[in-house]
Symmetry: C2
Subunit: 402 residues, 2 copies
DNA sequence: CCAACTTCCTTCGAAATCGAAGTCGAACTG
DNA sequence: CAGTTCGACTTCGATTTCGAAGGAAGTTGG
């Protein structure tokens, strides 16, 4: 199982060889069915632009390969009812590990993104990459032993990291508060350990993809802010995740206008993160005699109506909103989604929304949707599933030719 | 010639009908030859991924249609020399009008972007859209009457506007200092007047496309700042122009940190434009007794070593750089290009560069190229040609089936 | 209830595309 | 300089894809 595992790294073919410009048709059909965009041959034909006869041929192959099943009939659109096509339950699952600083959420999702099994794992990311990844992969293995997943092939593994990830190498780069992880080859190491293709991605980016695909699939450009103990941001441009050189979406080290000066861990004074992150809020509240170790405790204080907490959260919202005005003017998105555990604090979201509407160009806000997360805490898991699905051409082809 | 002109608006098919996902092959080949990416059948085959035999067939058709010509032989790569393929001189030209507040630069470019004729036109954009567009199109007609362009078909017209353009409708929206233009249907009007497909685009966006295609074709993500009497910005994401909802790239109305408060024409205090644009610099210098009506005169003052001018320009550079740090962290581009007439002021570019390197994340700047414009003042013209070429599927298909 | 229409899907000949084999022409090699 | 090798291009069956036609299974409306 470990043989040639290194060859399986997701994306390697894209980087190393000739870019295959023609889209892979069978994989495209699988994606359409998995995401629920199409559930009949006719819909596949309309969506893909292929001839109906070609679609029928392809679907027959995919049924033969065990990826699709035909099940009952769909709703009529005024004529003969379509024969409904679904993903086979045995088509495969993706494994996902969304790592935080002290906690990982593990899951097995099917190709369409539905949760098949979940687990939570406590650890400390500061123990370093080897120990962490071994524990994570062991737990994932245990997960697939249960829940009737024994006979379902595992098609890929995604790991969400709380720090910047270089998309080219699958390494974490210059992470703060993650000793031992800098430049560690996470993708290589995990791929060898697990023996399957591995995708490594920043957690806010996974969340952005999940929010987009699950809640805003028709919008082309959105930005998703993740407010937890840190401040993260993922950007969807033209329907695809924007990575830049791996650092795209960083908003936490923008300089803000403030009276008191606070030095940030990055070495500069008055970064947004030093004033408005969950960690900064916790410190502010601790100085006033409140204990709030985690962002959710801050939300509890706000919900309980503690005035100091509400004031602190409003102040943070104003600072975040001020930074976002520049980015909204520049990027001109269709929606701005606010997620992460702190997003449950109503006054925070309200203040951000107010700051943006007040200061942004009317042209930038006239059709701008500003909303709290709709996909909840599993948005990152969903996003990981979607990214893995989008990189599934290889194994789908392989399943067909076998 | 005016018959059905309205049907010709570029992009109308994209917006109104089914999105044709399959790329148009003959048009793709034309683009590869026009942009110089390929100049033989073999290169076309490699680049397009088509079989060599299919490419040969297509090329034969394109030669038959008068779009390609075969000319001599290319350099050997170790074997038989390729038969070089070029665009025919009679394949067609695009007309471009890059409008400023008081001046328009007009040009005819061939499909590859080479200038075939240019002209300059003085006017006042405040006279309103009808008069301006009539004058522009008349001048362009005159231009094609000369320079041996009588028998070359005109394949499209692009108009660059000094204000935001809604990509869906081809209308200018909420422009400042352009009375009468708001929501005027520029594309419709010009298409009817000229009888050819028309593309309307913001001038900074055209410049960004031109810079990218001409000077940084291998970079996926760049931002181009246009510093003239205003401050504009165009963004290339993943090799394509990012428009957002039409306002993307606005950086001029970001709030800055400053001692003195200046109200901006947008109604908010302390916008970047109110402090650091060419117009703002001119006002500052005028208050000190220097006359600098146009940005180029400011550059002259700086070049002449006038200390007040240099100081003002450095101050503007610092403000612009501060704003750009947030955007560079967020967008994480491969290059930041500074263009526009003010970019000839060395201290301005140097100060911007310094501010960014000082304050941005190392991760964002480690591979960031910060450069003055390489394509000069015709960057917008080039960009317009490229955009028109990218929308040329329809007429290319038509030329083949005729 | 039946005729007319819609939509879904398959069948089957036509057309496009591919790709292996072959030809051509130039550079390299000892 | 003659033989070899490489790459460019063409030829020509094999394969894939298309698309018009038709059957199947619905809805709609008098």
């Amino acid at each position: 199982m470990e043989v040639n595992a290194l060859l399986y790294q997701v994306g390697a073919c894209y980087l190393s060889g000739v870019r295959n410009s023609r889209e892979d048709q069978p994989a495209a059909l699988v994606r359409m069915v998995a995401t629920g965009q199409a559930e009949s041959r006719a819909e596949l034909a309309r969506l893909s632009g292929l001839a109906a006869s070609s679609v029928s041929l392809r679907v027959e192959q995919l049924i033969g390969a065990g990826l699709f099943v035909e099940e009952g009939a769909g709703a009529s659109r005024g004529g003969r009812r379509p024969r409904r096509i679904r993903l086979a339950r045995e088509a495969g699952v993706f494994l996902v590990a969304d790592l935080g600083a002290h906690h990982a959420r593990l899951a097995a999702v099917d190709l369409g993104g539905a949760l098949r099994a979940t687990a939570d794992l406590e650890f400390d990311i500061a123990v370093g990459p080897e120990g962490t990844l071994k524990a994570v992969i062991d737990s994932l293995r245990a997960l697939t032993g249960e829940h009737g997943l024994r006979d379902v092939p595992i098609r890929g593994l995604a790991i969400g990291m709380p720090g910047p990830v270089d998309p080219a190498t699958g390494q974490v780069v210059s992470p703060s508060r993650m000793p031992g992880w800098n430049d560690f080859p996470v993708r290589e190491f995990a791929a060898e350990l697990a023996g399957i293709p591995v995708l490594v991605e920043n957690d806010a980016n996974l969340m952005a993809v999940g929010e987009h695909r699950a809640s805003w699939p028709d919008l082309d450009n959105i930005m998703v802010i993740k407010l937890g103990s840190g401040i993260g941001c993922g950007v969807i441009v033209d329907g695809r995740l924007h990575r830049g050189r791996g650092a795209a979406g960083d908003i936490s080290h923008v300089r803000i206008r403030s009276e008191a000066t606070v030095d940030c861990s990055c070495g500069h004074p008055d970064c947004l993160e030093a004033h408005a992150s969950g960690a900064a809020l916790a410190a502010t509240l601790a100085a006033q005699g409140f204990t709030a170790d985690s962002p959710s405790q801050i939300v509890d204080l706000v919900t309980d109506g503690v005035p100091q907490a509400t004031a602190a959260v409003r102040n943070a919202g104003q600072l975040i909103g001020d930074v976002l005005t520049a980015l909204v003017n520049f990027f001109n998105p269709d929606a701005l989604v606010i997620g992460g555990s702190l997003s449950n604090a109503e006054p925070l979201v309200a203040t951000i929304r107010g700051a943006i509407y007040q200061r942004c160009l009317p042209l930038a806000t006239r059709n701008l949707e500003i909303s709290a997360s709709r996909s909840g805490r599993d948005a990152s898991i969903l996003g990981a599933g979607h990214l893995l699905l989008e990189q599934s051409d290889e194994w789908i082809d392989h399943a067909l030719t076998r």
